[in-house]
């Protein structure tokens, strides 16, 4: 098993609160991994540490064997690490075309070109179109993102992460606010990513988690409470007490 992403003794505290507490975590290459845990357990904080939004208090993050603890956020994206946000982070005044084109152009290294016209760049156009088509955003591609309904915005949020063609994808509650009927479709898209792409999913919808994940880590109060395959985790009494309650799985 080769490793996509790994943390060593990772810690983060805010004042007196320890949000990430000595976490050693491994995301295998091609994994379909879920991270669950009670509210405030530190899941979002963990993702923020992995992507460089927050600096760890101590510990180390490695991406494909390279230490990236001190690497800037954008450079991590350049190395194939992309994410979605729990609360949508969009370019409100742009259209979906522009937003996807932006992500694509940065991935293709075009961002430093001051004089090139966007529409003259065939590769950029083709890849942007591909993402828009895949997420069925083509019918609204020229509307301002800020005026779109929430569900569409959520799709753009996820499409933007896909457009970065990551090798490691971190999804923070992607299904929040998405109706039951469309959640499966969304997760099917995630599951349909190439085999070598590693995915870490944070979700409170246990139906989705157990359907999707082949491995689950449970975080409580900033530290890893349990880790294993779905059945193991579902049966773990500590996990049931802390998180799942009487949820009928396993």
């Amino acid at each position: 098993m080769s490793v996509a992403l790994q943390t060593f003794d990772l810690c983060k505290s805010f004042g007196g609160i320890t949000a990430t507490d000595h976490v050693d975590f491994t995301l295998a290459k091609g994994a379909r991994h879920a991270l669950i845990g009670p509210n405030g357990a530190g899941k979002t904080t963990f993702v923020n540490l992995l992507t460089g939004v927050l600096r760890p208090s101590s510990g180390r993050v490695e991406l494909k064997g390279e230490d990236i603890t001190a690497v800037s956020r954008e450079a991590r994206v350049g190395r194939g690490l992309a994410r979605t946000f729990q609360i949508n982070q969009l370019f409100g005044t742009m259209t979906p075309v522009e937003m996807i084109a932006l992500v694509t152009s940065e991935r293709l290294g075009r961002g430093r070109q001051l004089l090139r016209a966007l529409d003259r760049d065939a590769e950029l156009v083709a890849e942007t179109a591909e993402i828009l088509a895949r997420f069925r955003l083509d019918d609204i591609m020229d509307e301002r993102i800020a005026t779109l309904p929430y569900g569409k915005q959520r799709q753009i949020e996820i499409a933007a992460a896909f457009a970065a063609k990551p090798s490691v994808l971190l999804l923070d509650e992607p299904a929040a606010g998405v109706p039951e009927a469309e959640r499966r479709e969304l997760m099917a898209m995630v599951a349909g990513l190439p085999e070598d792409v590693s995915v870490l999913l944070i979700e409170h919808d246990m139906d989705l988690v157990f359907r999707f994940a082949t491995r689950i880590t449970v975080l409580v109060n900033g530290h890893v409470l349990a880790e294993g395959d779905p059945d193991e985790v579902a049966r773990d009494p500590a996990v049931r007490a802390a998180y799942l309650g009487e949820h009928a799985h396993g």
């Binding site: 075309v97 932006l102 992500v103 940065e106 001051l114 156009v125 179109a129 933007a160 970065a164």
Partner: protein, 335 residues
């Protein structure tokens, strides 16, 4: 690629942003026509062109990258002094002076850009303001070089391209400034439509997402700040060259503040806002001040207040209607 394919539509959408709109062509034709139609107003037209270029510079950072500045006069003034000193001590050639003004201001922009990378809008406002104020004090105390409070005198400009001598009617001055404005404007237009320009808008809209999309915030901001500084330097150089004088007020606070008003009046984020704002602001000020040289500020103030309170919608609605009509004309005429 078929007409209806998504790819074709994406391309068309991306092209739409950089297509020359008939109203734009009209705008520039009018600017040239003004030379012939308003021979008595060439001096103020020249000032408008310079202010317009200065406002385009602010738009690059404010409208596109979301960096507010209350000290943009620092670069304007630096460019003006650089061009003035160059003309006085090195060469009277306007274009060389322009390049020197831009280069100097650009360099200053590069050096001060680390200051604007962090902090809220308010912090940026005050830091930029502080830089401009310090520069103003510096220019005041370096009297041996800048002429201090008396201003830099004895600038003699050569002729543009060795052909056109600056005249007292402001003919050459206006055409020269307009030409420089046009060239730099087209360049700016090109830049904001490039992948680089798109990444600036991303930073303005949502820096968190921008960095999560792989945009190196710092470097992009440094780049655009330097570029905008060079543009402001160009505007300053034009002022120094066409008035053949530089005084401390090129660095003054009110110059930055007026500039901000100009851009807000015209609207930030589409480059023409600065130009339209410059026309509106200067003309308004000139007309009102000629009626009431003592109390023109009151009327300008009233205008600003009413403009924000609801006039903007009216005016923009009007402009849109006109532009729409022009667009329709433009579309019809080629056929």
């Amino acid at each position: 690629m078929s007409e209806g394919s998504i790819e074709a539509r994406v391309q068309r959408s991306l092209y739409a942003a950089r297509r020359w709109h008939p109203a734009e062509i009209m705008f520039w034709l009018l600017a040239v026509a003004a030379f012939f139609l308003l021979p008595r107003q060439l001096l103020i037209l020249n000032e408008i062109a310079i202010l317009g270029l200065f406002a385009v510079s602010l738009d690059l950072i404010l409208g596109y990258a979301g960096i507010v500045s209350l000290g943009h006069a620092a670069f304007f003034g630096f460019g003006a002094y650089a061009a003035g000193l160059f003309a006085k001590h090195a060469s009277a050639d306007p274009l060389a002076g322009l390049a020197v003004g831009m280069g100097a201001a650009g360099l200053l922009g590069l050096l001060t850009s680390p200051l604007i990378l962090r902090g809220s809008d308010l912090t940026r406002l005050m830091v930029t303001l502080g830089v401009a104020l310090i520069l103003g004090e510096l220019a005041n105390s370096l009297g041996w070089l800048t002429g201090g409070a008396d201003g830099l005198q004895g600038i003699m400009m050569g002729s543009v391209l060795g052909l056109f001598e600056f005249d007292i009617f402001g003919k050459v001055a206006y055409l020269y400034s307009l030409a420089v404005l046009f060239v730099l404007f087209v360049l700016a237009r090109r830049i904001v439509g490039s992948p680089f320009g798109l990444s600036l808008r991303a930073i303005r809209d949502n820096p968190l997402r921008a960095s999560a999309s792989g945009v190196p915030l710092h470097w992009r901001l440094v780049a655009v700040y330097t570029l905008a500084a060079a543009y402001a330097g160009a505007a300053g150089a034009l002022l120094a060259q066409t008035t053949q004088f530089v005084s401390l007020d090129v660095l003054a606070f009110h110059r930055s503040a007026d500039l901000m008003l100009v851009l807000i009046i015209g609207g930030a984020g589409y480059l023409y806002g600065g130009l339209i704002g410059a026309v509106a602001f200067k003309l308004l000020q000139d007309v009102i001040a000629s009626f009431t040289p003592q109390y023109w500020m009151f009327w300008i103030g009233l205008f600003l207040v009413l403009f924000v309170l609801g006039g903007r919608e009216l005016i923009h609605g009007g402009i849109k209607a006109v532009v729409g009509r022009v667009a329709r004309l433009g579309r019809r005429s080629p056929t």
